[in-house]
Every structure is written in C-alpha cells, then in structure tokens.
C-alpha cells in the first residue's frame, strides 16, 4: 500500500537495533555477537530483555529507545494470571504476508449466571476438554465469558466464584451494570479478568473498577468509531491503558459495517500509527443468538461459526461464542491455526526416505507427495499409531496426491526415481510398495517402471492402520 508506516517492520533493519546495543559481543545472550542478536530481535525471535548488559542502569536510555522502536502497532493485553493467562493483540502488521501474526485469536465460550451450578461445571468441562490433534498441534479453546443474564449481583458473584473454582482459564466478566460487574470481581479480585464493558453511559464506574482491580477493560461503542475513539481516549486519560476495542459485531445486513469497522481500525493502527486504534479487537459472533425468533438452533450455530471465521480473518484478537459444538467450532479453530502460521513456511518438504519407529527388512514401504500438508498428515497418521514403516517422499513440486496426478506433477517416473534414490532396496527384502489410493491411476505404470509390486493403499492415510492389518504381507 502507499500508506506510511510508523515503525513498520520493513523499515526496521538489524542495523537500527545494533546501534543501540552495547556492541560488546559478550555472548551473554547466547548469540555469537551483537549483530546476530540484533537480527533475531528484528525477526522477533528473541526479546531485548535477553541482553543482560542492556538492562543495566547506564543503558536505560538505549533500552527505552529500543522498546519504543519495537513496540507493536497493536498493544499486547494480558488477560488472566498464571499458566493460562492469554495474550491478546500484540500485532505487528496488518497483512499476513508482511510478518507472522502474533497471539492467535483467543476464543471464549460463555456461561451465564442463570445456569445451575452443575450446568456451569459441565459446560466448563466441555470447553476445557475441547481438543483436536492437527498435524502436530493441539487445538484448544482459551477463555470463559461469564455473562450476567439475571442482572442480579449476587447470582453473578456466585457464578464467577464457581467458574474460578472449576477452571484456571482466564475469564471475561460481562455485565454492563458496574455494580453487578464489581460483585463478580469481588469473587476473583486477583484473577485479572477482562471486563466487559465501558460504554458511553457507564465508563466512569468501569474505569474505576479496572483501576481498582488492575484489569484490562473493553470499551464498547457499537458501530460508532468516533465514540469508540472518544472512550479509548478518555480511558487513557483516566489511567486505564490495557484496553480492548469492541466496535460491535452484526450479522446479516450488519455484515458490511462489521467488516468495515474491523478493517478500518486495524488499518488505522498498523498503517496510520493511530494510537487509539492500537488495541486488540473484540468480535462477538454470539450476537447471532440475539433476537433469533424461530430460527433453528443449528442454523444459528452455523451462522455464528462463519461469522467467527470471517472476523478471525479480519483482525479480531478475541471472539466470544455461545455455540460449543465440535462441528461448528472445528472449522474456526483450524482456520485460526492456518492463519497464524509463519507465512514463510515452505509449501514443500524435502523429498527422500523417512523412517518411522524401528522398521526391519519386512516392514511396509509407502510413498507420498512432498506437499507439506500431505506429508505431515501421513506422517502423523503413521506416528500416532506407532507403526514401524518407511515412507518415501516423492518430489511433486509441492502438489498433493490427487492434484499431482491430475497435473502430472506426480508421475510414475518420479515415483520410480524416488524409490531408486531412497536406497530402500537395501533396507527391505520384499519389493512391495503401498501407494496412496488417490494415485491408483498410475499404479500400472509404477510397476512397469520401478519393477516393484504395487499395492493400492487407502485413499486417506487415516485408513493405514486398518489397511496394514488386513492387507500387508511382506
């Protein structure tokens, strides 16, 4: 874009950082020299606090200059305490290709103060037990949003207390009445929950609560960014500096405003250096449940899920959701993992022979493509089932199996060459290769060119264990 950048990453070079370092090459940080340390700083692989000399009194000025220079466009706000404390925001860039996004969007699921104690406990267990293994990552949910639906301070307090006893996940306390909110806070005075929310009416009381209990605070102004900015400015002047911005989330006809507001705020922060926009953004897909009339529950969950995914792409740093079904949360949590990976991660893995477990001369031999996602999926299926096997990774220019076969990136020639180059012929005494089911079209050609007997395996690697049990004979 043509936008000017304040402390944009592109402009920040290792030299800029190096100039402010002690330049003694003392290696106390673990790096070979100060320039190597500076390079890691610029790549956000190391923190300036890991340079002991820089923390000395005489270097205070340089330290502060560096801090300012490295400050993210979106402030990092911490919710909760202890192991499960969650960092929101801290974003360095607007677009994913500019730099890896920091701090994956936190997902909070609600409980209410009108649920029975058992309902609250069951729901929290459900949230804590949400877990999905995905190519070596475990996808989890992050927070509990406690809503005051009763409007009763004591009920809210009791529920917050119960939540705190049940889980150490960080909380968002949601009540627009400051008295109710404070009752909740009294149950967890040192837990640093995120407070929802200061608006144009209650801001003064909310600011006092945020200060008194040292909590981050959401400022909320639905579809009114001028008021949102005014609130943020007022809070800063009040001394509340850990803010989260809620510009409102709207379904259906409200989608254009929703997307506009999130996009404008993030651009103002990242490209315009606008301090008042430089806070984490809260999205509330849960609004799909407001005023739903006769709409079927599954349709609401469907809508809530896709709204969450759209907000996740368009800069939300924290999301509040009500639907807690696996089918509706899975796409959003997988998308989050995808969007928050390093954009420089290669599409392809190195071709060659991979060894799993402790295979012997009778162990099965598979091949797969060198598209990273295909490889990791197959590898994780072999690994998690503790199989002893050889896997030949064939160069397919980063194509998956089916598109590789269709686009002639995965050919019998390449498979035959890969078998030869892998050295597998000296490792097993059989000559049988199990090929992906999706490559069955080239099975004849592979046999012809490689001289190996082809066994067509399952179309999806999740079927490998069963396949081996039923079909594998060395």
């Amino acid at each position: 874009m043509s936008e000017k950048k304040k402390a944009g990453l592109k402009e920040l070079s290792p030299i800029d950082v190096y100039k402010l370092l002690p330049k003694t090459n003392c290696k106390e940080c673990g790096e070979d020299n100060c320039m190597a340390f500076a390079t890691k700083i610029v790549n956000r692989e190391i923190n300036i606090d890991q340079c002991p000399p820089l923390l000395k009194k005489e270097n205070e000025k340089a330290y502060n200059q560096l801090r300012e220079m490295l400050k993210p466009a979106v402030k990092e706000v911490i919710v909760g305490v202890g192991d499960k404390a969650t960092k929101l925001g801290g974003k360095l860039v607007m677009y994913r290709h500019e730099f890896t996004y920091t701090n994956p969007t936190a997902i909070a699921i609600d409980v209410t103060d009108e649920m029975t104690e058992q309902e609250v406990i069951n729901r929290i267990k459900r949230i804590e037990n949400y877990s999905f293994e995905y190519i070596g990552y475990t996808l989890k949910l992050d927070m509990i949003a406690v809503r005051s639906t009763s409007g009763d301070a004591e009920k809210f307090k009791a529920t917050v207390k119960k939540v705190a006893e049940t889980t150490n996940l960080p909380m968002i306390l949601c009540a627009l009445n400051p008295n109710v909110l404070e009752a909740g806070l009294m149950a967890v005075p040192n837990a640093r929950p995120l407070l929802y929310a200061a608006n144009a009416e209650n801001w003064k009381d909310m600011a006092e609560l945020a200060l008194m209990y040292n909590c981050p605070l959401v400022v909320s102004a639905p579809n009114d960014l001028t008021t949102l900015f005014s609130l943020a400015k007022t809070m800063m002047a009040y001394g509340v500096t850990d803010l989260v911005l809620d510009p409102g989330t709207f379904t259906n006809e409200g989608l254009p405003d929703t997307i506009n507001n999130f996009t404008m705020l993030r651009r103002a922060a990242c490209k315009g250096g606008e301090e008042l926009a430089g806070f984490p953004l809260m999205g509330v897909p849960m609004v799909a449940w407001v005023d739903r009339g006769e709409t079927a529950e599954d349709l609401i969950k469907w809508r809530e899920s896709y709204l969450a995914s759209m907000l996740l792409v368009r800069y939300a740093d924290v999301l509040v959701m009500h639907g807690a079904d696996g089918w509706s949360l899975l796409p959003t949590t997988v998308l989050r993992q995808n969007i928050y990976t390093d954009p420089r991660k290669p599409v392809a893995v190195a071709p060659g022979l991979k060894v799993f477990g402790t295979p012997d001369e009778n162990s099965p031999v598979f091949f797969t493509s060198n598209f990273a996602l295909t490889y990791y999926t197959v590898a994780s299926d072999i690994e998690s089932n503790k199989l002893n096997a050889y896997l030949i990774v064939v160069e397919t220019e980063g194509s998956a199996i089916d598109s590789g076969v269709a686009g002639r990136k995965l050919t019998a020639e390449r498979v035959a060459d890969a078998i030869k180059a892998s050295g597998i012929e000296s490792k097993v005494k059989h000559r049988k290769i199990i090929i992906p089911g999706k490559a069955s079209r080239i099975s004849g050609e592979i046999e012809e060119l490689s001289g190996w007997k082809v066994q067509v395996g399952p179309r999806d690697s999740s079927g490998i264990p069963k396949y081996l049990q039923e079909k594998w004979q060395p």
Partner: protein
C-alpha cells in the same frame, strides 16, 4: 482445476444421526432439525441471597491521583476513516454472452473491476458481486455423502445435474467437468465432449465453465473442439496451464470468443509468467486467473496469502496480477475433516462438511476472489447470502447489539 472429492465410508451411509432428509431445505427454511444437542439437564437450584447489594459492601480503595486529574466528562475526539486510493484497477471480464452479444445465454456476468481491496466498502463500494459456479460432472465420481444426498438423482446426467444446480441451488453459472476425457479413465473423444456441452447448453441458459481432466495434451484437443463448436459463448476454459501448448490454446480461445482461466500452482511468479505468455495472443479482458485453492486445514493459509498479495499487488499496479480471481473452492472437500465420520463430539458431518466449504470460501472471499467453483448447495446458499449482505449497502442496527450480554440463549 479442482480435485475430486471423496467418499467417506460408503457402507455406513445409512447409519449416523437422523437428519432431515434434505438438510439444505431444512437450513433454508429454518426448520427445526432434530439433532442430538449439548443442552444439559436443567436442575432447579436454590440460590440463597445474602442480604444487601454487593455495591454497598464493596471495598472502596483510594487511588493515587493522576497528573491533570481524572476526566469528569468523556473526552471527545474524531475517527477519520483511513481511505486510500490505488493506482490500478482489476480488469473486468465478461463471462457468457447473450444472443445480442453473440451467444445464447439468458444473461452474461461481469466480474472484476475492483478499485479497492475486497469489501473495503468504507473506501468504495464493491464493483461487481462475486459469482458462484456449481460443479457438474459428466460421469460418476466419488462424492462425499453430504454432497451426494443432494445430487444422487442426477449423477451421470450432466444436463439434469446442471438444471438442478440452476433451478434449485441458484447457481449463477455451471461448470461442466469433462472427467470422462481422461486417457486414464474413459478416454472419451473431443466429439463426445462437444455433445455433452451441447446438452448442458440446452438445459440451462447461464454462462458455462468448461473443465478439463488435467491432461495437458488431451485437454488442449478437447478445448479446441469445444471452442470451435460454440463460438461467441464466452465460455471460461478451465484451465490453461504452463505445461500445455499455451500459444495454440490461447489462439483458439481468443479466435472463438472465449475466456482463458490461467491456472498456476501457488506461485505468483509463475502466474505472472503464464499471464504474460497469454498476452501475446489475447487481451487482458479475456483472462481470469486461478492461483490454486487448498482446503481449510490443508494449505488454505498459502492460498489465502497468495490471493491477498495478488489482489493488493494488482491494485498497486502489478498489471500481470490485476485479473479477476477464480477459486476451486470444491477442493475444501479434499480435507478429511470435511467428509470423514469422526467421533461423536465432532458430528454430524452432514453439517461439518458444508461448513468446511463455507469457511474455505469466506476466507478467500475476503482476499478478493471473484468467481467461486463450489459443490454443496448449503455452502452455496451461505456464500450467496453473505455476498448479498456485503454488497447491500445496508447499515447495521446497533441498537440491539448489547443484548448479547444478557440474552437467554
């Protein structure tokens, strides 16, 4: 280029949850669907109220004074929308042709023409709404259960399938995938393919996408026969790839008044290079590009970033990338999570599958994709709804938003 979806476990098709027989209708008509849900048993629990409101017993702590004092009234400031201008615009491409335009379609559709990133409506309104084309296959192919239930009566009859896509599923366009021409499958002749296209052309009056089998030599022959048999229809020829005889293909596409879908595998340099080769034979307004769509969970991150970069690059003056973008969103079904029967907490897959396609589509919608090649009717409906909303120019009703805090959902 799309990959064929696959069947989960065929044998277990009749098992599982008792869903309404037509999920799409259920979704569309907001009927209550019977599903096992997670609602817990509501037990009555008596809560003993302590006397006195919390507000009266709360500790009041004196805070240290802040320089200048705490504000007593809200400080006012303004928000200025960060509006930008861009040196370039995305080329407009017209798909299909009416009789007066030299074809036989009921209407033609224009995609592209954007002058801002996708849905930056605070800058400029969207020029042309994204278009959805539905997949139709010319022979039986493996389909996931969630998809098959909607098309089982028309599999093997591309004309009927196309009609269903347009009449019932509201497709803007239809893609006829000529799978049977694959030399490794049925090796149908170019003449057979022309006949299939003719049937589809008769059955529906929307613009068509012509899909090949992925074999660079066979596709080139078949595309040539089709381009020449139906001149002036402005078919989107899906696709022209680097390993084809690009010069030959570009010439017959151009000569017969069709459009090239320039397909490259997730690499913007290759996309630029292929587009440059096409420019020697055809105008920019005759090219749509496909930068490869990977499924959610299986490389969607690469597709997302590639497309976002391409669109921003195009607007910033990289003319070789300033083409409308097409996405083979059907590839979402290549993800096992879209079709696999999983343990109970992730079911039903009848909802998870189409939502997988929706999530893939919406992620790419926000990068600027102009043409979606899709599969599941419920996913199509949602994408249509969302694009209609996003381009409606309507304002949000902010008055009800705060109710989410207290709603008894």
């Amino acid at each position: 280029m799309i990959q064929l979806p696959q069947d989960g476990d065929k044998k277990k098709e009749d098992e599982g949850l008792k869903l309404s027989s037509d999920l799409l209708e259920a979704l569309a008509k907001f009927q209550q669907i019977e599903l096992q849900d997670f609602e817990m048993d509501v037990k009555e629990l008596e809560i003993i109220f302590e006397p006195g409101m919390a507000g009266q017993i709360m500790p009041k702590i004196k805070l240290p004074g802040i320089a200048g004092g705490k504000p007593t009234a809200m400080l006012q400031t303004a928000f200025v929308p960060p509006v930008e201008t861009y040196p370039n615009k995305i080329t407009e491409v017209k798909l299909g042709a009416t009789r007066s335009e030299g074809g036989t379609r009921g209407r033609s559709l224009i995609i592209g023409g954007e002058t801002s990133p996708a849905f930056y409506n605070f800058e400029r309104p969207t020029t042309h709404k994204p278009v959805i084309t539905l997949d139709v296959f010319d022979m039986e192919v493996p389909l996931s259960k969630a998809v098959k239930m909607h098309v089982k009566d028309v599999v093997g009859d591309p004309a009927a399938w196309a009609k269903l896509a347009v009449d019932k599923f509201d497709a803007d366009m239809v893609t006829i995938h000529l799978i049977s021409i694959d030399p490794l499958l049925k090796d149908a002749t170019p003449k057979d393919a022309v006949k299939t296209v003719e049937k589809v052309l008769q059955a529906v009056d929307v613009p068509l996408v012509i899909g090949g089998c992925g074999d660079p030599v066979k596709d080139a022959d078949v595309f040539e026969a089709i381009c020449e048999a139906f001149p002036g229809e402005r078919f989107l020829i899906s696709s022209i790839t680097r390993d084809m005889d690009v010069e030959r293909c570009a010439k017959y596409v151009k000569k017969n008044g069709h459009i090239a879908l320039s397909f490259t595998p997730m690499d913007l340099n290759l996309a630029r290079e292929l587009n440059r080769r096409l420019y020697d034979f055809m105008g920019r307004e005759d090219i749509v590009m496909d930068l490869t769509t990977a499924a959610l969970g299986y490389g969607l991150d690469y597709a997302f970033t590639n497309m976002e970069r391409a669109r921003i690059g195009g607007l910033m003056g990289d003319v070789e990338l300033a083409h409308p973008m097409s996405s083979g969103t059907t590839n979402a079904w290549a993800a096992r999570e879209a079709w696999l029967k999983m343990s109970a907490e992730w079911e039903p897959r009848e909802l998870r599958g189409p939502l997988w396609e929706v999530t893939t589509a919406l992620t790419l919608l926000l990068t600027g994709v102009d043409l979606f090649m899709m599969m599941h009717p419920a996913a199509v409906k949602t994408l249509k709804d969302v694009t209609n909303y996003l381009t409606s120019g309507k304002k949000a009703d902010a008055s009800k938003f705060a109710e989410w805090v207290s709603v008894k959902a």
